[in-house]
């Protein structure tokens, strides 16, 4: 007998319905089930512990500075005056640059792999993406310090300064280090994330959708633009949000190229600081409990933002993955 559920695409092997599964009747089964539930619940415990420890470590700073912490611009461990704004600014700017560079490249790659490339090339591109994703952050940082920064300092930033120097974004001395360096390295690091999820999302578009557009006379690019991309929009948004989440939390590579200046500047050529970078640089040598607490509060801030972002992103990607069964119904 063929049931409706048989036609649904699932990503996991089908399980028998609860009524057909063996009921837990003996001691061994119940103990085992208990052990399994305990282990599973530990995951929830881990999440809770993370939140608790962060709040506890950051409590002194939370108590002393309150909400003004978020807009303070002073970062003076000696005077014990702390403000998070330069780091929030740096984090946002580098992530914005990363997304501006990475989204077109990722989408282009994803479309290339799913629509345009001969199937021989696909495993190669997947392999390249896996390699990109597997390189440790500190190795990217190393490359950034000795390759990217000199290139920015000698080639890209002077050219950008000459061509677009009328914009405040591209003014100032090209020192190499700074928001642009951080943003570019982040772009390389979030590329695999956005691309691979986008590929997965684009693949869920049903053949019927594409064929309908082609049958009505659309060219291949029109088909992509009109029937594939709008279908995938929430999923690609989810992919972008996941990439953003990764960019916000990325520490080592950015720390090594950002210049470590807790100041706010409009120009992308200026040195700056990001939330993870200041924590990485100062936590081990924090002078005094308030300094540590201030850094822990930065971590809490970062954690909160990334948590919300990740939840949103996962919900979006899930909604698209379940798409075909809902569309077919």
């Amino acid at each position: 007998m063929v049931r409706a559920t048989d036609a649904t695409m699932t990503s996991v092997a089908p399980r028998p319905p609860a009524s057909r599964r063996l009921r837990v009747v003996n001691v061994g089964d119940r103990t085992f089930a208990g052990v399994l539930i305990a282990l599973g619940a530990l995951v929830l415990l881990v999440a809770g512990v993370i939140l608790l420890v962060l709040v506890r470590l950051g409590a002194p700073a939370l108590a002393k500075f309150g909400l003004g912490y978020v807009v303070g611009t002073d970062w003076d461990p000696v005077q014990e005056s702390f403000g998070a704004l330069p780091f929030i600014y740096g984090t946002l700017v580098t992530s914005a640059v990363a997304l501006v560079v990475a989204i077109p490249v990722s989408l282009g790659m994803a479309l290339f792999v799913t629509e345009m490339a001969p199937s021989r090339l696909r495993p190669l591109v997947s392999f390249a993406l896996e390699l990109l994703a597997g390189i440790p952050s500190v190795v990217y940082g190393l490359w950034g310090v000795f390759v990217l920064i000199p290139w920015l300092r000698e080639t890209l930033e002077p050219s950008l300064g000459r061509a677009l120097g009328f914009l405040p974004l591209f003014r100032g001395p090209p020192i190499g280090m700074g928001y642009l360096a951080g943003g570019l390295i982040l772009a390389v690091m979030v590329l695999p994330t956005i691309t691979s999820i986008s590929i997965e999302v684009i693949r869920t578009v049903p053949l019927a959708q594409r064929e309908a557009a082609l049958a009505l006379g659309a060219t291949r690019w029109e088909m992509v633009r009109l029937s594939v991309l709008p279908y995938c929009r929430p999923g690609i948004l989810g992919a972008v949000l996941l990439g953003l989440g990764r960019a916000l939390g990325e520490t080592m590579a950015v720390t090594m190229v950002i210049g470590n200046m807790p100041e706010i500047h409009a120009s992308l050529f200026a040195a700056g600081y990001t939330l993870p970078a200041v924590i990485a640089n100062e936590f081990a040598e924090a002078t005094g409990a308030l300094h540590t607490a201030a850094l822990a509060e930065l971590a809490l801030l970062l954690f909160g933002v990334i948590l919300i972002l990740n939840i949103l992103a996962r919900l979006l990607v899930r909604a698209v993955r379940r798409g075909p069964s809902r569309v077919a119904a």
Partner: protein, 267 residues
């Protein structure tokens, strides 16, 4: 349009090739037996190696496995066996979200739990941070691998009279063994490449260390220290250390992929 997309692919390949090529070409110059077996020499002097950092990384990853594997694999089996319930759904979602927590925040948590109360940096704290990081990925990957085991196997085992718990332990999990090993190896590869959480949990150590309650050097932190230092000799060592790290991570990942190659071809 195809040209633009092809350009995008090139734009992504260029940094990849650049990083790999430079790490190999710059790093190979410094490879020597000394590099693997000697301790670092005082700053400004040349020679010496980072033997303690390599051992430190292996040591902490091993500790992290001891701490993280039972939890991770157990949670994964739970999700596969009872993941269709409400609780299972919540746990799976939490695991996915936890996978996105930045490593530096995990480091701070490990600091708060294992460094601050004891007023002591330690390899154990570093390993705990790594275990935290391995947990969500391991749980989700184990779940996927266990679910791949065909239902017929479970039903056959139950039909022959094995209780459900023995079926899971003695039949299902051993069948999924290769897949679980892959998940473990990928987790290990990721943990070996982490730097940020180790910066203030295991800190660093210029000497050999095998005690879990002492600070320990690690390959990644050593690369960071050397790359951002002012000495030319340090820079060269940083490249070579990066090459060793890439070889370590690469070998682990390749072994992981090799283990599931047949499964992939069939799926």
């Amino acid at each position: 349009m195809t040209a633009l997309c092809g350009l995008a692919v090139l734009a992504a390949i260029v940094p990849l090739v650049s990083v790999l090529w430079l790490v190999v070409s710059n790093g190979a110059k410094g490879l020597s037996l000394d590099f693997f077996t000697q301790l670092p020499v005082p700053v400004g002097e040349s020679g010496g190696g980072i033997g303690n950092a390599i051992v430190g990384t292996l040591y902490m990853v091993a500790l992290a496995c001891v701490m993280g594997l039972p939890l991770g694999i157990g949670a994964g089996v739970f999700l596969a066996e009872r993941g269709d319930t409400r609780l299972g759904g919540v746990i799976r979602f939490t695991a996915e979200v936890l996978a996105g927590v930045p490593s530096i925040i995990v480091g701070i948590v490990a600091y708060g739990l294992l460094v601050a109360p004891f007023k002591h940096y330690s390899a154990l704290a570093g390993a705990a941070a790594l275990a935290f990081l391995m947990l969500p990925g391991l749980a989700r990957a184990t779940e996927e691998m266990v679910r791949l085991v065909p239902n017929g196997l479970r039903e056959g085992s139950l039909a022959l009279g094995l209780p459900a718990w023995k079926t899971t332990l003695r039949v299902i999990i051993p069948t999924a063994r290769n897949g679980i090993l892959t998940a473990v190896l990928l987790g290990v590869a990721r943990a070996a490449g982490e730097t940020a959480p180790l910066l203030f949990t295991s800190l660093g150590n210029p000497y050999w260390n095998f005690r879990p309650d002492q600070p320990t050097a690690s390959l990644t932190v050593q690369i960071f220290t050397y790359a951002t230092g002012p000495y030319e000799d340090w820079h060269q060592k940083a490249w070579t250390a990066a090459l060793v790290l890439l070889m370590l991570v690469g070998a682990t990942s390749l072994t992981a992929r090799f283990l599931t190659r047949n499964r992939r071809a069939r799926a």
